[in-house]
């Protein structure tokens, strides 16, 4: 008796291609740790403990007078803002004439486990602002905060409004109780005191775990299948390696800061009600804050909902996800009005230019020049 089996030729072909790709990968692409992360040139102008402040070299002859400092997230590194020349946030700002500084929070060691909010806000951030004011001969600067860096920037601006002309905060971690992701579920019964007292700093491995449970299969499997599928696509691989390297460089979080962060809501007595009061949305509907807040919120939501794969090619990953922008200081009303008008445009006209975002236009829709001069 003869046993006959048949395997489709294309499956064999795919299998052979896959094996050939595995064998040829090393000769085709760079070693990940040798991949260059930055696009724009900069000087390191200020150093304190582990932190560094970068000052980017201008790309235009005409410069906006008020310098802009970016307080990047402390849960990963600043590179993502300048990782690809075509999608660089920093490059876009430089091309608009901004004088851009970036704070690199560095990698804390065991010695830094006692660093808390006070050190980050009233020491590091304040020293950076002081330095910029002295260098540029200005009394106020503009500050952009991203993610956890946005929280620090918000706290700083609330405590030192005399030094802030404009505050722009994207995806800040402020009203954390609204977080309904699986990460928030995981931290519900988390004993942060025990964790920090035993380990010291919050290790990056724990952060990876928290990030990975958000999309375990897309981030853990599909991403690498895509990598294999696109192994011949140089641009894809270059971008992929940069993002992977960036993800791999997650620093630990100082223990004290992490503790204050997790327990912060209770410790500072912040409730949903008084945060909303700060934003102006619990007052009556005619109050301008409420309208502007709603406008800003809808704008951010519109952008997030139409997020496109502009860095990793992953349809659900948008590293520049906007949260409700919170803007304080002199320009608050102008800035909020700007968002309100955009909202009206969106509502009145489906074909509003800024509504649809493709991979190169996302930062260009946020043209803020008129508010920073």
């Amino acid at each position: 008796m003869t046993l006959e089996t048949s395997v489709n030729e294309s499956i064999i072909g795919d299998f052979l291609n896959f094996n050939r790709n595995i064998a040829e990968i090393p000769s085709r692409i760079s070693v990940p740790h040798e991949v260059k992360m930055d696009t724009c040139e900069y000087d390191v102008v200020y150093k304190e403990d582990r932190i560094r402040m970068l000052h980017y070299k201008p790309l235009t002859s005409k410069q906006i007078k008020t310098p802009l400092v970016i307080s990047y997230a402390i849960v990963n590194r600043y590179h993502i803002f300048d990782i690809d020349p075509k999608k660089s946030w920093v490059k876009n700002l430089l091309e608009q004439g901004f004088d851009v500084y970036m704070i690199d929070w560095g990698t804390p060691t065991s010695l830094d486990k006692f660093l808390g909010f006070d050190d980050y806000v009233n020491r590091y951030l304040d020293n950076c602002v002081e330095f910029i004011c002295n260098e540029s001969d200005v009394r106020k600067i503009s500050m952009q905060g991203y993610c956890t860096g946005g929280t620090l920037a918000t706290v700083y601006s609330a405590l030192h409004p005399e030094k802030i002309k404009n505050l722009v905060v994207t995806a800040p971690v402020i009203d954390g109780w609204k977080d309904t992701t699986v990460v928030s579920n995981l931290t519900k019964s988390f004993d942060v005191d025990k964790f920090v007292d035993t380990i010291g700093n919050m290790p990056p491995e724990f952060m990876y775990y928290c990030f990975s449970i958000l999309k375990p299969f897309e981030q853990g499997i599909e991403k690498y299948l895509k990598f294999m599928d696109n192994i011949n696509n140089e641009k894809f691989i270059e971008s992929f390696l940069k993002i992977e390297k960036w993800l791999d460089e997650t620093p630990p979080i100082p223990g004290q800061l992490f503790k204050e962060w997790i327990k912060g809501n209770r410790a500072y007595g912040l409730t949903e009600q008084n945060i909303n009061q700060f934003k102006g949305i619990t007052r009556n509907d005619n109050h301008p804050y409420a309208q502007f807040y709603k406008g800003a919120f809808s704008y951010a939501e519109t952008i997030n909902n139409s997020a496109m794969p502009f860095v990793t090619g992953n349809r659900n990953f948008n590293p520049f996800q906007l949260d409700t922008p919170i803007v304080a200081g002199k320009s608050f009303f102008d800035y909020a009005k700007h968002y309100y008008e955009i909202l009206k445009d969106i509502q009145d006209n489906d074909k509003y230019e800024g509504y649809f975002i493709n991979d190169e236009e996302i930062v260009k829709t946020l043209d803020l020049r008129s508010f920073f001069d």
Binding site: N8, D14, D119, N185, K194
Partner: protein, 190 residues
């Protein structure tokens, strides 16, 4: 007289502690006479090591049961997802062109089921118990290491932490003094 011991763990712990203390007391004097040099500290503190090991017994059992539950939750979710995938793929044609569709179904089903699991109270509770017990065991391990380090005349974790704290405070103080000096200098210059 102590109250009767309820369960096996308490019985084991009590008996071990009793003999641990007895042996320590019985041997402390002859040991201190004979043990000199680097082993002296170790001999004196060896009771602490056995105490930590006895105490950790219950935690090791707890840790294993939480870990088992953790893998059980993941395993059950995996099996359920796989079953759903098998049902779903019976609806798509079995040819090489459908490989991409199969991959998409597999990833979407697994993603959905696993994020649902991570969102449950039972997962969160068990995971946090697992981490908490791990921390407890790590603390005991640190204590045991401290005994070893002390006997080798080296600084313990507690002592290093004190130095870190001291260094941290000194650095802060120096920075403050430095900045107030700078401000004073600027004021004097102007």
């Amino acid at each position: 007289m102590e109250k009767p011991i309820d369960n096996m763990f308490d019985y084991y712990k009590h008996t071990s502690m009793f003999w641990n203390d007895m042996i320590s007391m019985m041997s402390s004097k002859p040991a201190s006479l004979t043990a000199v040099g680097p082993l002296r500290n170790f001999t004196e503190n060896i009771k602490k090591i056995s105490q930590e090991l006895i105490e950790s017994n219950q935690e090791i059992v707890d840790f294993n049961s939480y870990l088992l539950e953790y893998y059980k939750q993941l395993g059950e979710t995996w099996t359920n997802s796989q079953k759903k995938v098998m049902l779903k793929i019976s609806e798509i044609p079995q040819d090489p062109e459908s490989m991409e569709a199969y991959k998409r179904i597999w990833i979407d089903m697994f993603e959905n089921d696993f994020t649902q699991l991570f969102d449950t109270e039972s997962f969160s509770k068990n995971y946090n118990k697992l981490v908490s017990t791990e921390m407890q065991l790590l603390k005991r391990w640190n204590t045991i290491m401290d005994v070893m380090l002390k006997s080798a005349n080296m600084p313990t974790k507690e002592e290093i932490d004190e130095i870190y704290q001291e260094l941290f405070n000194l650095k802060k103080k120096i920075k403050k003094l430095d900045s107030s000096k700078k401000k004073r200098d600027v004021k004097n210059d102007s």
